[in-house]
Homo-oligomer: 471 residues x 2
């Protein structure tokens, strides 16, 4: 990158949208976990899709690498530079473009913060189909680029399945635009699904139309204790049958999580056994919700699936129950440095075994202070957190990763259910995807971004066209 | 194709799975509407994915064109040969491969008939996410290849959004396989979404994992009369707010439909005004369903959104109400030869205007006997049926198509909400998709099927790499 490149960028953007100041760049060069640091000397903050197109056209011509950045809340280093790539931040494209009161769809620019989008649609009695811890910072564009998960997937489906329109800019500046926001449209290939979840490696998302859902008027939450992971599966089947359409969350955590919540955050979790399950039902009126939840608990108690449990008596108690689940990552972090895994299996039953296996594998490792399992049971999605006293060396991390991901590979699961591949999991992509699938990904990458300027070093290794199989 | 090609196919398949008999081929050469006829002299009926791969490998090597066929129930000529392509029928791959009792996912071979899949999962208290008129004949592979719609999209989302795994064979025999059936998996590009809805032009679907839903234990149906299309929009907004999670269908039809149902099928529709709406709510218990539906009707009556209406008193009456909606295509067909359109717009309000516009445009055409509008209001999806006394000449059809599709183009809608492009709508693809989108489709087609052997003459014109813009 030369001074004349910067001059071109200054022609495309307002001066204040071209960031060269080191202090301003600092926060954009590092992800929020602090694990991934880049050395970018330039961030561009376009305000229109045309500006994005003009910027990328110049970058492609000059083969300047670009990293798209949203709210910078990712967990796998997908949104920060690996070296000195130019950061293209979408944070200044934050308009709500359109809202349809009948169908409830909402059209948003990529930089709209999730929480703001949710607030906007709630004024119309609707809610966004996605909710996650980072909602106060994460942006719609980043959520889409990573097909972000969270607690609403169980009821409302993946974010991918709630995308009705997309606008994205390819590496050569071509604008792909399908913002018609149609609920149904079978006219040729659905290219937008390829961009969603591609982590900014195929195109840069500038806007989207999202399907929203009626906001529930009543929410009920229960907290239950169970003495084995198998019992959670039984409870889940029962909940699907008894609560069906009102079931909106089915989360679980183990005794280790309970211990850390107590130890570090002084939270008293009324959990009497090895596992806790948080069930949420929600819908358009209170009575059937309460009745369905109560009946579920009665049947589960009678069948000895649960040991005990309670239904939150008011909104405050419901928030307390949720705070247990939501505070687990924080409690793990207070225990020490955390190796985080985000795993899924098709068949839920075997998933917790990896927690037990890792406890066994690491039982003689004095640096390991706790091993915790929790997550979205209904999605077959387990978060495994290994808290360690000290930063383990790269070799030890690798050994642990190989054990965890090896188990997932053996059982046909995903090494990244929600978080994506980014930099962190790139070397392990082949643990979840076949050589054939990865070869196809390289072909698609080559088609969309032949010069390889978009988010280099994320998802696919840039070093070879054959997968760079380091492990 | 030579005798030695057939000999190769006989080595790959059992003799009885290689069909050369003209009588046996007749039904496979023509679509069920009778509009699209091919002259294939060979149908292959593989029983395994490996056989499909071996067949395609040979076809690609010899540049023999192939048309994949499922239940042959499509409406746009997408599943029949245009000339003498080899038919590859999936009808003999009909095994249920797996079923997970906890998550409720089901793995199916492409040839499983939708109704059979639904029956299978209902034994486990679940239902398929898709239901449509052709369910007794259509196959899972064909449903996926066309991203088939139907009456459950409103509640359960598109079929696309319920696909958790896919196995498909590329033109060169490469087997793309991701049958892990994960609810959440963010490990690289979701190629299966590209195959879904590509109508057999990118790869041949051999199996899939589908998400199923708890089968409702109670279903309530109401039939309402309204005097304008705008009122339907108001009723829909109200239904989303009042019935929310139990709303499972919101269908509508016009007075013309009522007249044809009465005239040709002797059905007495209790519809007192210009429009009828059928609302279905369903869920895990009767009482809240009935109460929510009743309250919706009370409010709608009070607000003068509906003129009158009734709730089906039992299952028999509910079936009668549904029969009105389901019999409309048949009633239109009895009125004469039907030009069928399957349209959607992002904003529901303007959609019915095309029916009125076409009535106006064709008011002096004596061959037009009725113009009927009906469809899935909640999905913004209108079926426009123009019944004519006699087969119109190609020129007149074209004139009508240009008027209808022109309106859709002006309003940013879809010329094919559910049915796909196939042969029938190929010349109009650019009415719904931009040149940029279509150029990308050609690139993707070139990547997946460089020799162009897969379902030639469907979706994209084979004649040029630039879209063959005949109109």
């Amino acid at each position: 990158m030369t001074a004349s490149d910067v001059a071109v960028f200054r022609q495309i953007l307002d001066a204040k949208d071209v960031i060269e100041d080191e202090a301003d760049l600092a926060g954009m060069n590092v992800d929020w976990t602090g694990r991934f640091k880049g050395e970018s000397r330039l961030a561009l903050m376009p305000r229109t899709t045309e500006q994005v197109a003009d910027l990328l056209r110049h970058c492609q011509k000059r083969k300047l690498a670009v990293v798209p950045q949203g709210g910078n809340t990712g967990l796998v280093g997908g949104g920060v530079p690996i070296r000195d790539e130019i950061i293209v931040s979408l944070g200044r494209m934050k308009k709500v473009l359109d809202h349809d009161p009948v169908t409830g769809t909402v059209a948003l620019e990529a930089g709209v913060i999730l929480e703001r989008a949710d607030q906007f649609v709630r004024e119309h009695g609707r809610m966004m189909p996605i909710d996650l811890g980072a909602k106060g910072s994460c942006m719609i564009g980043g959520c889409l680029a990573t097909n972000a998960g969270g607690i609403r997937v169980l009821r409302y489906g993946s974010l991918r399945s709630n995308v009705l329109g997309l606008q994205a800019v390819c590496a050569d500046g071509t604008v792909l635009d399908n913002m018609r926001g149609l609920q149904k449209d079978n006219t040729g290939y659905d290219w937008k699904q390829l961009i969603v979840g591609s982590e900014g490696t195929l195109a840069l998302i500038t806007a989207a139309v999202i399907k929203t859902w009626p906001a529930p008027k009543d929410i009920q939450v229960a907290l239950l204790s169970l003495d084995s992971y198998e019992q959670i599966g039984k409870l889940y089947s029962l909940a699907q049958s008894e609560c069906a359409e009102v079931l909106s969350a089915f989360e679980f955590w183990d005794e280790s999580a309970k211990g850390l919540l107590q130890k570090h955050l002084k939270l008293k979790v009324p959990q009497t056994s090895q596992f806790a399950v948080l069930i949420e039902v929600s819908g358009s009126e209170k009575e059937p919700n309460s009745e369905k939840l109560l009946r579920l608990l009665e049947i589960a108690m009678e069948k000895e699936i649960i040991l005990d449990g309670s239904i939150a008596q008011d909104e405050t108690q419901a928030k307390v129950f949720w705070s247990f689940r939501e505070s687990i990552p924080e409690a793990c972090a207070k225990e020490g440095l955390v190796l985080k895994f985000d795993l899924s299996l098709g068949r839920s039953q075997a998933l917790y075994s990896i927690v037990e296996r890792m406890r066994d594998n690491l039982k003689n490792d004095a640096t390991v202070s706790s091993i915790t399992g929790y997550g979205h049971f209904g999605d077959g999605n387990l978060h495994l957190n290994i808290s360690m006293d000290q930063l383990p060396d790269r070799e030890k991390v690798l050994r642990i990763e190989k054990q965890v991901f090896g188990y997932i590979r053996e059982n046909g699961g995903s090494i990244s259910a929600e978080h994506g591949i980014g930099q962190a999991k790139m070397p392990f992509l082949h643990y979840s995807r076949s050589d054939t699938e990865i070869a196809l990904m390289y072909q698609l990458k080559g088609l969309f971004d032949p010069s390889g300027i978009l988010n280099i070093g994320k998802v696919l290794s840039p070093k070879t066209t054959k997968y760079f199989n380091v492990y």
